[in-house]
């Protein structure tokens, strides 16, 4: 253990340069092109003629130091110790020697999957869920596990019309930012917060709590002479914003909490502009440990997209081409009153033409 006499603060993260593979350092900013050699394996070729190989593997994101030591041992063995992670929680092993690719994949295959490249389903961006969060309406790591068990074949292959990006967020806070994914799973509460009038006056600042509600559903009140708040339950849309500022207003409700499914978002500017995800399935029950209703619904959307979309069409582009009416028809998902927006910009989603497919 190192000994420091002075307390160091505000030093920031270490400089990235010390973690770069020598080939990367040498060819920094001078890359020419890349190719996907096979699912999970990339080669980047530099102006200089140098190549660096990347083997991409899945990680559950929630991992142990043991898991990390396992991958660092492989990086030592095959990659001169160099590795990185992607914005979708994949591990990337960086290799200078092409001959090390297959032996590395063989060792990785004992505990994870290699893939996540090109026209397939990459790793899932997700949140903490019941493992570590106070406001979650569902678990995140478990949902990712069961959904990707169903879709693993799309991770290790590249046979979809285009890439499909999945995300899971366990409540409307959306720490996983599921609002721009091809298919998103979002934990939802369906009942108003239950106010603990005993603790609220001590734990919560009333003006802040009142101001936190986007629908002005919270009003100050007093009960037996003690200041507290009341909720106009007709106005509550269960966003949990009040709970974030006031611990005495929990929303967790095992009977009613569950999962919604959203589709058609994208981040990239390729072909079409970035798009938000839109509601496909308003509610499915929390049914741990394997959430069969959720995995079935997601798999169905993926399979119909796989069959119906044209090459290089993302889910949202496919739906925009065929129209939402046909999306619901093809997937068999019921269109309900919950699909009609009633929040801030609702009017922008109303159809104001007579163009329809008959």
């Amino acid at each position: 253990m190192s000994v420091t006499t002075e307390r160091r603060t505000d030093i920031g993260p270490p400089h990235y340069e010390q973690f770069l593979h020598p080939i990367i350092k040498k060819n920094y900013g001078a890359w020419k092109y890349h190719e996907i050699l096979k699912p999970g394996v990339l080669v980047h070729v530099a102006e200089s003629g140098d190549s660096i190989y990347t083997v991409r593997a899945a990680s559950p994101r929630l991992i142990s130091t043991e898991f990390v030591r396992k991958i660092t041992a492989l990086a030592e063995k095959y990659c001169d110790g160099y590795l990185r992670f992607t914005s979708r929680n994949n591990i990337e092993f960086l290799l200078s020697n092409k001959d090390n690719i297959d032996p590395l994949i063989e060792e990785l295959s004992k505990f994870t999957l290699v893939g996540g490249t090109g026209r397939g389903i990459s790793n899932v961006v997700h949140t903490q869920g019941w493992v570590h969060c106070h406001s979650s309406a569902t678990d995140a790591s478990g949902l990712v596990k069961v959904v990707m068990d169903e879709l693993a074949d799309y991770f290790t292959s590249m046979k979809l019309p285009h890439k499909v990006r999945l995300a899971v967020a366990c409540c409307l806070n959306m720490c996983g930012a599921v609002h721009a994914s091809d298919i998103a799973i979002l934990g939802v509460h369906r009942t108003p917060p239950r106010i603990d009038h005993e603790t609220l006056p001590n734990l919560c600042e009333i003006p802040t709590t009142v101001a936190s509600c986007p629908n002005n559903a919270i009003r100050p009140t007093s009960i037996e002479g003690k200041s507290t708040v009341k909720v106009d339950e007709d106005k509550c849309m269960y966003c949990g914003n009040c709970y974030t500022v006031c611990p005495s207003m929990p929303l967790a409700d095992p009977l009613n909490d569950g999962v919604s499914i959203w589709v058609g978002g994208k981040i990239s500017n390729a072909r079409t502009e970035p798009m938000f995800t839109k509601l496909a399935v308003p509610y499915l029950p929390n049914n741990p440990p394997r959430w069969p209703e959720v995995t079935e619904a997601v798999k169905k959307i993926v399979e119909i997209y796989a069959k119906d979309a044209r090459p290089f069409e993302r889910v949202g582009e496919w739906i925009n081409r065929i129209g939402w009416a046909r999306f619901f028809e093809k997937t068999g998902i019921e269109f309900t009153k919950y699909h009609l927006d009633d929040f801030r910009h609702a009017g922008t989603t109303f159809k104001r033409s007579v163009q329809n497919r008959y």
Binding site: M1, T4, R7, T9, G12, P13, P14, Y16, F19, L20, G29, W31, H44, P60, R61, L62, I63, S64, T65, E66, R69, T72, A75, E76, Y82, S87, L94, W130, V131, H132, C133, H134, S135, D139, S141, G142, V144, K145, V146, M148, A152, N173, A177, A180, A211, S212, G240, A252, D253, P254, G265, I267, S268, N269, A270, R271, P274, F276, P288, P289
Partner: protein, 393 residues
């Protein structure tokens, strides 16, 4: 309670091809009471269909207001190992590059001071150490800083900036995303560690419009690489794509959003004056097409998830800024923060603030001129607040 840990529901998550976090955690359980009790509590959550974590508490390291998130079990008697289960956000290196040696050192620190569980990485970008007790926070911090690591952001502060792989391993990078991330993180250490904003402020760097960090959706300030001149073409490589039998007409030409591509003989022709830099043709033909040479970044502002007023994508502030040095950007960031400090409300993200005060008032406040690139269309309503008019002399 029996000493043997029974998790029949979680055991179901050990089946199937995707790597199982349950198997990983179970391996750690005999060594760590914290992991054992985490599994116990999680099994109960799976049975009861609800979480058992209390609302966070105020804990941290001396002199910092961010970087640590307090977490306590709602069932401390049943699961004493997780009665305190705080999170430490460790600021990741630019581009999430590591060496095995550096990662192993981090794991040594975490094995000695915490649960041994972590996220690689959190949604904002940090390496997240999950689960330790209050008394271990300061010792963990001391060991981290001794190895040159520091904490990331949390609460109402500048959150840990993050970036794509950038020029380190991508031919599309239009500026040095890793250098800018390092620069901003170091320049704004005070804003990162000591929450004094209205709410969180996230910054993400993507090297091109493919936007691999989701800067447009997941950051208040997105810095997205872009070029101004012509796409670079290697006609010989293009001819090879044609000869390979690839359906370039259908998959590239017809997919161009502004229809500015045509094929003449074995050559590709691009009307660059109409190109909107969407990246599709470059993504499809990486050997033949490359981003231009006059490179910089577009600056978008206001992206966020739904809480409070609804989800927003970042909107265009500056279509092109040179990124040879970062002074112009520093200046812009500081003007944005100053405006937000003066006009923003508590728990109002910058995107919501701009919508409330109006884009015109906002850009005037930060010293930008109105340009058509900022909107998809001019207003279609006549309710204009005219500020100039004539008076009778």
């Amino acid at each position: 309670m029996s000493d043997e840990l029974k998790t029949p529901l979680l055991d179901e998550l050990e089946k199937g091809p995707w790597p199982s976090f349950v198997s990983d955690l179970k391996q750690m359980a005999p060594k760590k009471r914290m992991v054992r009790d985490l599994l116990g509590q999680l099994e109960k959550s799976y049975r009861d269909k609800r979480g058992y974590w209390k609302h966070g508490g105020l804990v941290g390291v001396m002199g910092y207001g961010g970087g640590v998130i307090g977490r306590y079990s709602a069932l401390p008697e049943e699961f004493p190992g997780v009665s305190h289960f705080h999170t430490i956000r460790v600021n990741q290196p630019s581009g999430w590059f590591y060496t095995a040696k550096a990662l192993n050192e981090l794991m040594d620190i975490w094995d000695a001071h915490g649960s041994g569980l972590l996220n690689m990485h959190g949604s904002t970008g940090d390496l997240v150490f999950l689960g330790t007790v209050t008394d271990e926070l300061e010792p963990t911090f001391r060991e981290l800083t001794a190895k040159d690591w520091d904490l990331g952001g949390s609460g109402s502060d500048m959150r840990t900036p993050s970036c794509c792989v950038g020029p380190a391993r991508c031919q599309n990078a239009c500026y040095d995303t890793l250098a800018l991330t390092y620069d901003l993180t170091h320049k704004y250490q005070d804003e990162l560690h000591r929450p004094m904003f209205n709410y969180k402020f996230k910054i993400k760097m993507s090297g091109c419009p493919n936007d691999c960090t989701a800067a447009i959706a997941r950051s208040d300030l997105g810095i997205i690489g872009i070029w101004k001149d012509d796409i670079q073409v290697d006609q010989a490589a293009f001819a090879e794509y044609l000869d390979s039998g690839m359906n370039v007409q259908e998959y590239v030409v017809e997919k161009c959003p502004t229809k500015c591509i045509s094929i003449e003989g074995k050559e590709i022709k691009i009307d660059n004056s109409d190109c909107v830099k969407c990246m599709h043709c470059i993504n499809m033909l990486p050997k033949a097409l490359r981003v231009g040479k006059e490179r910089g970044a577009a600056i978008v502002l206001g992206g966020k998830a739904p809480i409070v007023e609804g989800a927003l994508f970042g909107s265009m502030m500056i279509p092109f800024m040179k990124m040879d040095d970062f002074e112009e950007l520093h200046d812009l960031i500081e003007r944005i923060w100053e405006f937000w400090d003066e006009h923003g409300k508590n728990r109002e993200r910058i995107g919501e603030c701009v919508e409330r005060v109006g884009l015109a008032a906002f850009i005037e406040g930060i010293g930008l001129e109105p340009i058509p690139q900022m909107v998809t269309q001019p207003r279609d309503n006549p309710y204009i607040f005219y500020e100039e008019y004539y008076e009778e002399e």
